[in-house]
């Protein structure tokens, strides 16, 4: 054939591909040629049985441990939602056991379900006695049937309170919380709305702004007081002893404080959120200055928005002293009306294990998983090795060997 000229790209192509310099030759590496060393995971009967045996052992083991762990935890929860409404006024009455749930050892000396409550009114002073207000107080006596080793945590528990709505979760101003005197213009119309400005048009900034801070749970709990103090040695017998629980240190994650600071607003700029009026009756004054959020761990805990509408928050704790057996009394200043929204409130006194408070579910889940693995393991053993064993790599199972009826000699020619 005639010698062929080639134009343009072809020529260029040709130039670039001199036979002695094979430019386009792909490198012969394991990666580029897709032949890296690898383990082909073939699920052979032996492998399957081994896997399930191991799994069964692991999960059953952990399940047993976790179940035991959960049972070591002692706790007592008392629902006092209806205390102000239903409890006998100014005298102790029987707290209905349905409001109590408790986990103690069976053979305890006292019955944790025996408790008493009492509603009363009491003058409560605020800001070191700057002013005083009469408040509903609920007094509850309850039994701790066995000695609880520290640490002892005291939680309040709210039900049906949604801290997790879309607008709610964003309704704060991070800078303001950190202490920055954020301008009113940037607070107003921000996520803090509608709790951003004083309603009467004074232009004062709400501090801390936002729905979250405004809705803070503001019941206050006293430390439980042991009413039946056992005689100890030669010390003079006490009629009662306060089991001191710390309510402002160690109840929030240490790091949380980094998110909060003492505000640098002028007092004249700011007003407390509307729901705080109970404690800041005259707003922020030099006598009743805005709270130092950096140290107010209760507030920090509140600002950690619970994932669930039923949530516990740590109120106070004692990491040092055991809680002795006996009857305790606790005063609750009831500011937070959960009945408004069909909510309930309780407090919880509990010991803590490495798995936290009492929760039997992790152990149960582990046991179930382990149990299933064990059953499957047995099934696989029976199935693969006894009922219908299959020869590994048996070509008669190949689909293209199916139509022609398996001739025995034909099928077993594989080595």
């Amino acid at each position: 054939m005639a010698p062929r000229r080639r134009r343009g790209a072809d020529a260029a192509q040709e130039d670039s591909s001199e036979p002695d310099a094979p430019k386009n030759r792909p490198p012969n590496t394991a990666f580029r040629q897709q032949r890296m060393k690898a383990w082909q995971c073939v699920l052979t009967p032996k492998l399957i049985v081994t896997i399930f045996s191991i799994l069964a052992a692991i999960y059953l083991g952990f399940g047993a441990y976790l179940t035991w762990l959960a049972h070591t935890v002692r706790d007592l929860r008392i629902d006092y939602t209806d205390c102000i409404r239903d409890a006998p006024k100014n005298e102790a009455g029987i707290l209905p056991p349905k409001y109590i749930s408790a986990h103690f050892s069976e053979n305890a000396a006292l019955d944790p379900y025996e408790a008493q409550w009492q509603a009363t009114k009491r003058n409560i002073s605020y800001h070191n006695g700057q002013y005083t207000r009469e408040r509903d107080v609920c007094i509850i006596q309850f039994n701790i049937p066995e000695r609880l080793e520290p640490s002892i945590s005291f939680y309040y528990y709210l039900e049906n309170f949604y801290q997790n709505h879309r607008r709610y979760v964003g309704s704060f101003n991070a800078k303001q919380l950190l202490g920055d005197p954020v301008e009113g213009s940037s607070i107003n119309g921000s996520t803090c709305d509608p709790i951003s400005h004083e309603a009467n048009g004074s232009g004062k900034i709400v501090y801390p702004c936002g729905i979250i801070a405004n809705s803070i749970f503001n019941d206050t709990f006293s430390s439980p007081t042991l009413l039946t103090v056992p005689a100890t040695g030669d010390a003079p017998p006490e009629t009662e002893r306060v089991y001191v629980m710390e309510n402002n240190t160690g109840i929030a994650w240490p790091g949380l404080a980094d998110l909060y600071g003492k505000t640098r607003y002028n007092l004249s700029q700011i007003v407390p959120p509307p729901n705080w009026n109970e404690s800041y009756f005259f707003g922020y004054t030099p006598d009743s200055p805005p709270p130092d959020l950096h140290t107010w761990e209760g507030f920090q805990n509140w600002m950690m928005l619970a994932a669930s509408p039923n949530f516990y928050k740590l109120y106070q704790r004692n990491d040092r002293d055991p809680m002795l057996v006996g009857t305790y009394m606790i005063d609750i200043v009831s500011n937070f009306d959960t009945n408004l929204y069909n909510g309930r409130k309780s407090f919880v006194i509990t010991t803590v294990s490495t798995m936290g408070s009492r929760n039997i579910w992790p152990g149960i889940i582990f046991l179930i998983v382990g149990g299933i693995c064990l059953i499957l393991d047995v099934y696989f053993i029976l199935s693969f090795f006894l009922w219908k064993p299959r020869k590994l790599g048996d070509p008669s199972y190949l689909s293209w060997n199916q139509p022609q009826a398996p001739a025995p000699g034909h099928a077993t020619s594989a080595p």
């Binding site: 949604y162 979760v169 294990s353 693969f384 070509p395």
Partner: protein
């Protein structure tokens, strides 16, 4: 000259080529039709039948669409009634346009498309809008855009609108860049082509187009082009300025604008043009010394046939044309005053317009469809190579219009006044109808009124765009079709944007997910609305009003907010990941050494990066023949001379046959090749000893026959020596090749022929010492063993497809007149002299059959001695016939038939149409994989069948169904008749399978992916295809084809190829792959789901439009069976896993909504949501999609059956999708609720009593196990665990910790601050992390275990076998070896049966250490062969090749004996004895006779026929 002459010439020369010629011009108007056509033209035959243009479905021969052609009565009004696009066009030259063709401003009203073409999808200008437009056709992209917009409004809870838009911007940009890169090469090629130089007449007024017809828009574009051009210039220095008329001299042969042909001497006129002394018929008044140009045209017809225009008058024509007809047509009006400014200037292709004069030089590519007015050859002939059009590399003759031959110079062009009437542009490559009209003064009446004259224009007068001019110094023509009107462009489809099938099916799943999403959002909206309607909830007291104000409005807003939150159900990251996966898959396909073709440094280049998974579902492969299955290299391999077989060869077909017989082909071929190499050395030594032939080059020797050399030297008697010499002499004398001497250190004779076969014959004669030096004064100059001799050629009777033979009548040096004839065996045998040479003929027939079995193309050589009187008498008849005006060709044929009788057989030749390496293997392997391979070729039926046998597509056990409708040349048959005939044929075929072609059967067929039994093969030609592809018959045809193991479509046009592909693709709803190498394959490559281009040494059009470019056909097996399968499986798994993982994630979020009144707050920290699809889980899925292998490449090739799952599309099914979705939902439940139970149901889940039940901390408790679960799940679903996937899974898992640790160390994290130290210190967290993934994965794990053991897939069994070490031997083979010696290495054990039978077979072979042992049972050869030898007195010969083939024939004989007595040997002897010459008489009609099909009857000669 007579117009018929051109066709005659076309049909002339060489045995094979005229068949190819008639393939080229399917209409086959050789005899009757051309005369008919002329009559019809002159008789003002108007559109007889307005055949509608079926662009795709029509092909072959479009029925005549006759435009007005009568010069005298131009019905102009009807012509310009329509725009140029569809209406016939009239082109004026040096004649002002008539008013009808002008608009109000006097400008031409017809606008022709520019010659600038764009195959690229985009221009720099249109890229951005167009690409965006295409991208946002994607439903998903619109959805994502909508989400981005939704996110801008904070009311919907979007956290960060900017960040949210990033993924969409990313994917749009990545896709755009990818498209740009894909389009870039096309653009470059377009630019190059558009700016390619062509010599165009300037300084002359082309009336057909407006001079300054440049619209504002185009000017704007031009300006842009310049800007981009400048940019381009900065990038590459080699930018050629894109000036309209850049007359700057450039380097190269055509540097200067040529004033006229005499100013330059052609550099192509290489020294030894032997026929350069041809007599010129140029008229005396021509004052130019024409450079003599070689032409292979037959002398005899010329000498006997002087210019008919001058003296060939026969007063049968219309009276008013009578006088004019006697005048030699001449377009040049010598009286026309001219400016003389006209010059042929170098110009760019894109500037050509309709009506331009162009001069094309040798080897130039034709820039537009051009009507030839004149060529450098005096008789107006020129040669074209049509490789780009139909894939054939042989030369074809085109001839100039008779009337234009006097035009030589630019000034002639200025003087030429004529009008061209042409049919509208249409895609049929083989047909053109037009006429040239001019007025001419009669020579005897100079002052009289000029007479209107006209000449028809046919396809033979045209040079089509894309062809190359060859062996012709120059050709001068006028441009008739430009740009997209050209036939090649009309045949080319628009570059399609292919989308993978999975990508298309994905849309359905996306819509399903969209439905799920809507349901989720609706639930959220309603529940949220109800929640906000409550007055006894905390929100009423503490949140001071809802977002929307009223509960209803709040619910409505929540709906949109939840769409944003759950948007991952329709994961944009899926699209991004899939792009990445596919791109990487393409990268690894590119990287595969197994598909790297060393000789041309060509790896497999994926051009479309996004359809690799389609390659894994291919059910039908459509293959071109020439250049794809074959190398298009003809090699003379064997010969039988005087009853003696010669030649050593080991063909692919032979290897394939042996392989089927269970012989270790690899070993055998190595051994045989070594043998052949030794034989070659011996033969060369012998030849050199005989005569040190300077033209013999060792590397070019293809006929390796030491015994022939010995015989030539006379070692076995004089008789054989004489016979051999005479045989070679016959080869050297009987041909029509052009020889060319290449000077240099070692002179070389190069032969050019219209058919490569013929060149091979002459080349072998040269190698054996019978060198054709050239043609000189009607004498063939030979160099015989160093001695120059001259053989006067008296006549050459040309080849054509009906004759199937050619003859030369030579006066021998001793004065005898000899006729040498070569042709198809059946034709020659039927013309042998009765009752002579019985034994020899039998032997020769036997040998020919064996050659045929080896896949060689055979020809017979015969001779006849003519007496002087006999010849003179015949010559007289011949001359009369040659001068005949009507039915000239029929008469010539009849005359020729008379002299080609009573021949004496000399012997036969066998030429190998070399298959590409490993083609039969590959086809067998693909067949085992369940893939059906169809051959669509432009070649003629016989060749296609031949190749079908060679490459295992056909075998003797098959019934060959031949669907054929005979074309009626007279044009009397109506379309309905054709349709009816075709339907009958189809019904006949279908009745073999008890089918009727009903819809039910089609429905069944669509679901049946089983390959049909190897009982039937189907052959159909282009003309018939045209009818069966009609809507009415399509279904029947399709069903019939589906029942046949092999389908061969012959003589099909590019558009028909595409139509067939489209029929199968759409009719059966299957995935198709087209593979081809030429521009004629472009249409089908684009039509198929996957187009593969073979990057050969020829044109690159196929490669440019393909999706994958590979170097060799055999790489297809690796591409399809390995990479396609991998890609499909990987992608299917990837996508499923992707949906799954987003289900887990999104539904976890959804479950949380149950605890927040569906108020669409996030359980996860926002960065988790961002990171989840970016870092936490995506990389393992991507990696799985890129690298996972269920079985290694070698096993995939060894067990091709594994591919069937892809054909049945079982890897990506809706069941699988939903299973993964449900699994995802289950796991999301577990992922959410287990942490929830652990954390929320207790007062404290921390060891220190502090709070971890905070929203985002619970999110962390959920996210970690979820990510672990997902990654673990992906790992479980990954078959192959290499260090990379393990590492990536580990890193992904650890990244969650890492990110949480880093991010929560900064107060910027807000509520999430310090989560890491808090959460990671808790035992509850670790316990959750331990148990949740287990709970999630347990069902999947159990199902997998049960499935693998109880209901294993094929691949599971194979994997078990692999693990048992069954394929270790394969794995041990180095990959490089596989790439070096083709497919043998990788597929040696895979050709047949299952892996089981394979492995057992392998074991069986092991005991036959050597081939000889394997052959032993059949050795020694049969008695018959033995007898043959003794008869010829050649007992002592070693003829390994001959014996080998004998051996294998003997071996298969018993099984085939009864099946087929239709062997060629038996047949030939029958033909001979019957002395029928039906083949000769059927000249006008293309018949298909099973006799002419080379059936590979292995049953050979039964004993009866051998014994005398």
């Amino acid at each position: 000259m007579d117009p018929n002459k051109a066709e005659d010439r076309d049909d002339a020369t060489g045995p094979e080529l005229s068949m190819q010629r008639s393939r080229w011009a399917t209409r086959k108007l050789t005899v009757k039709s051309s005369a008919m056509k002329r009559l019809s033209l002159l008789g003002k035959l108007h559109d007889r039948k307005a055949s509608t243009e079926k662009k795709r479905a029509s092909g072959g021969s479009e029925s005549l669409r006759q435009s007005q052609v009568d010069g005298a009565q131009e019905d102009v009004a009807s012509i310009n009634s329509d725009s140029a696009g569809a209406a016939p066009r009239q082109v004026y030259f040096n004649i002002p346009l008539p008013d009808e063709l002008k608009d109000q401003n006097g400008n031409p009203s017809t606008q022709y498309p520019r010659n600038k073409i764009r195959t690229a999808k985009y221009t720099p200008l249109s890229f951005v809008p167009k690409n965006l437009w295409f991208q946002f056709h994607n439903v998903a992209n619109i959805f994502f855009l909508f989400l981005v917009i939704l996110n801008i409004f904070p009311i919907f809870g979007g956290v960060n609108p900017g960040l949210n838009a990033v993924p969409l911007i990313f994917i749009v940009c990545v896709t755009a860049i990818k498209d740009a890169v894909e389009d870039y090469r096309r653009t470059i090629l377009d630019i190059e082509l558009n700016n390619a130089p062509v010599h165009r007449l300037v300084g002359w007024d082309n009336v057909n187009v407006e001079e300054d017809d440049v619209s504002v828009w185009r000017r704007f574009k031009k300006a842009n082009t310049r800007v981009f051009g400048a940019v381009w210039h900065a990038i590459s220095g080699s930018w050629k300025k894109e000036e309209d008329v850049d007359s700057k001299p450039q380097k190269g042969a055509h540097a200067d604008p040529r004033l006229s042909i005499q100013t330059t001497h052609t550099p192509w006129d290489s020294a030894g043009s032997p026929r350069s002394q041809r007599q010129s018929f140029m008229s005396a008044r021509e004052d130019i010394q024409m450079t003599p140009v070689p032409s292979p045209l037959p002398k005899s017809t010329n000498t006997g046939l002087p210019d008919l225009d001058v003296d060939g008058a026969s007063p049968t024509h219309l009276a008013n044309q009578l006088a004019a007809h006697d005048v030699k047509g001449d377009l040049v009006n010598h009286n026309l005053p001219i400016s003389g400014k006209a010059r042929f200037h170098k110009d760019a292709w894109k500037n050509l317009v309709v009506g331009d004069f162009v001069r094309i030089y040798n080897d130039d590519e034709i820039p537009a469809d051009i009507i030839i007015l004149a060529t450098s050859a005096a008789d107006g002939a020129c040669y074209v190579e049509t490789k780009n059009l139909d894939g054939e590399t042989n030369l074809k003759v085109r001839s100039a219009l008779r009337c234009g031959r006097s035009i030589k110079h630019a000034r002639d062009c200025e003087r030429a006044q004529f009008v061209i009437d042409s049919e509208p542009p249409q895609p049929n490559l083989y047909k053109f109808n037009g006429a040239i009209n001019w007025r001419q003064s009669l020579p005897w009446d100079e002052d009289g009124e000029p007479v209107s004259m006209s000449e028809p224009i046919s396809i033979d007068n045209m040079l089509l765009r894309g062809c190359n001019l060859r062996n012709t110094e120059w050709a001068l023509g006028i441009v008739i079709f430009t740009g997209h009107d050209t036939k090649i462009m009309m045949n080319a489809g628009i570059t399609p944007s292919k989308r993978a099938r999975i990508a298309r099916e994905l849309n359905f799943n996306v819509i399903c997910n969209f439905g799920v999403l809507l349901v989720m959002c609706l639930i959220a909206a309603i529940a949220n609305g109800i929640a906000w309607a409550q007055t006894d909830a905390s929100l009423y007291w503490f949140e001071y009003g809802s977002i929307g104000g009223t509960p209803g409005l709040t619910g409505f807003i929540t709906f949109w907010a939840s769409i944003i939150q759950f948007q991952n159900l329709i994961p944009i990251s899926l699209y991004i990941s899939l792009e990445i996966v596919r791109t990487l898959q393409a990268y690894f396909i590119y990287s595969d050494l197994g598909m790297y073709y060393e000789p041309i440094d060509q790896p497999c280049i994926p051009k479309s990066w996004n359809i690799s998974d389609d390659v894994g579902q291919i059910e039908y492969i459509f293959s071109d023949k020439t250049g794809t299955l074959t190398q298009n290299v003809m090699e003379f391999k064997k010969a039988t001379i005087h009853g003696q077989p010669y030649g050593e060869a080991y063909t692919e077909a032979q290897a394939g046959m042996n392989k089927r017989l269970g012989i270790d082909v690899e070993q055998e071929s190595a051994q045989v090749k070594a043998e052949i190499a030794r034989a070659k050395l011996r033969a060369l030594a012998g030849l050199r000893e005989l005569h040190d032939n300077p033209y013999l080059h060792d590397e070019d020797l293809t006929f390796i026959a030491p015994d022939f050399v010995d015989d030539l030297a006379g070692k076995h008697g004089q008789e054989q020596q004489k016979a051999n010499e005479h045989f070679m002499l016959a080869l050297a004398l009987c041909h029509t090749v052009i020889s060319e001497k290449q000077l240099g250190d070692k002179p070389k004779m190069i032969f050019k022929a219209q058919s490569p076969d013929e060149a091979a014959l002459v080349s072998t004669a040269r190698d054996m010492g019978f060198t054709v030096l050239g043609m000189h004064n009607d004498m063939i100059e030979l160099n015989i063993m160093g001695e120059d001799r001259h053989y006067p050629v008296l006549n050459t009777i040309e080849f054509n497809s009906s004759r199937k033979r050619m003859s030369s009548i030579i006066r021998m040096p001793d004065g005898k007149i000899m006729l040498f004839c070569k042709g198809a065996d059946s034709v020659i045998y039927s013309r042998l002299k009765k009752g002579e040479q019985r034994e020899l003929r039998l032997q020769t027939a036997k040998h020919l059959e064996m050659f045929a079995v080896e896949g060689l193309r055979t020809l017979c050589i015969a001779q006849r001695e003519l007496s002087e009187q006999e010849y003179i008498a015949w010559r007289k008849d011949h001359d009369v016939a040659a001068k005949a005006l009507e039915n000239r060709e029929e008469k010539l044929e009849e005359v020729a038939d008379r002299i080609e009788q009573d021949l004496t057989l000399l012997g036969g030749t066998a030429i190998e149409d070399r298959l590409q390496d490993g083609v039969p293997d590959t086809i067998a392997l693909l067949g085992d994989a369940g893939i059906k391979l169809w051959v669509l070729t432009g070649d003629k039926v016989e060749t296609a069948i031949n190749i079908g046998f060679s490459c295992n597509l056909l075998n003797n056990d098959m019934d060959l169904l031949r669907i054929q409708v005979n074309e009626d040349e007279s044009g009397q048959t109506s379309e309905d008749d054709y349709l009816q005939a075709a339907e009958q044929e189809l019904d006949r075929g279908l009745s073999n399978f008890n089918m009727t072609g009903s819809d039910e059967e089609l429905k069944k067929a669509i679901h049946d992916h089983e390959p049909p039994a190897a009982t039937h093969g189907l052959v159909i030609d282009g003309f018939t295809l045209r009818w069966v592809l009609s809507d009415r018959l399509k279904q029947k045809f399709l069903l019939l084809c589906k029942q046949c193991k092999s389908v061969l479509c012959c003589r099909v046009s590019p558009a028909q190829k595409a139509a067939v592909v489209s029929m199968v693709k759409n009719g059966l709803d299957v995935m198709t792959l087209s593979i081809g190498d030429g521009a004629n394959d472009v249409a089908m490559i684009q039509e198929a789901d996957v187009g593969v281009g073979i990057a050969g040494e020829e044109g690159r059009q196929a490669v440019m439009s393909s999706d994958y470019a590979i170097g060799q056909f055999r790489f297809l097996q690796r591409l399809v069976l390995v990479h396609g399968r991998w890609s499909y499986r990987r992608l299917a798994e990837s996508i499923s896993n992707f949906f799954y993982k987003n289900m887990v994630w999104t539904w976890s979020v959804f479950w949380y909504q149950a605890f927040c009144n569906f108020d669409i707050s996030y359980i996860f920290d926002y960065t988790y949501i961002l990171m989840f699809n970016l870092f936490f889980t995506s990389v393992p899925v991507v990696l799985m999609g890129v690298l996972d292998q269920d079985v290694s490449d070698k096993v995939a090739l060894a067990v091709p059956q594994l591919y069937r799952r892809g054909i049945e599309r079982l890897e990506w099914t809706q069941t699988k999708f939903w299973a993964y979705m449900v699994d995802g939902v289950y796991q999301s439940i577990m992922s959410f609720f287990i942490p929830y139970i652990v954390v929320v149901l207790t007062s404290s889940a921390s060891g220190n009593g502090l709070d971890v039940a905070e929203r985002t901390r619970l999110g962390a408790y959920i996210a970690h196990p979820a990510v672990f679960t997902i990654n673990m799940y992906i790992l479980i679903n990954t078959y192959r665990w290499d260090w990379l996937i393990l590492l990536v899974v580990a890193i992904s898992d650890l990244f969650v910790f890492f990110w949480t640790g880093i991010y929560t160390a900064f107060t910027y994290a807000g509520a999430f601050y310090q989560t890491a130290p808090q959460v990671y210190g808790e035992l509850t967290f670790w316990m959750t992390l331990l148990v949740t993934p287990m709970v999630c994965l347990l069902p999947r794990l159990v199902v997998k275990c049960i499935q693998k053991q109880g209901f294993p897939y094929d691949v599971d069994i194979i994997r078990e076998q692999v693990s048992l070490g069954k394929f270790d031997s394969l794995e041990a083979e180095p990959l490089v070896a596989a790439s070096a010696n083709g497919s043998e290495g990788s597929s040696s054990t895979s050709s047949d049966g299952t892996s089981k039978t394979k492995s057992s077979k392998k074991g069986k072979h092991a005991q036959y250490a050597s081939v000889d042992e394997d052959r032993r049972p059949i050795y020694p050869p049969s008695v018959a062969t033995h007898n043959t030898r003794t008869q010829n007195g050649s007992d002592d010969r070693a003829r390994p090749s001959y014996d080998r083939i004998r051996a294998s024939m003997d071996r298969v004989r018993p099984s085939l004996e009864q099946s087929n007595d239709f062997t060629s040997a038996a047949r030939l002897s029958r033909i001979e004895s019957s002395h029928s010459n039906h083949d000769a008489t059927s000249s006008g009609q293309r018949r298909f006779n099973l006799n002419t099909v080379r059936k590979r009857g292995l049953s050979a000669f039964s004993k009866k026929s051998i014994d005398p």
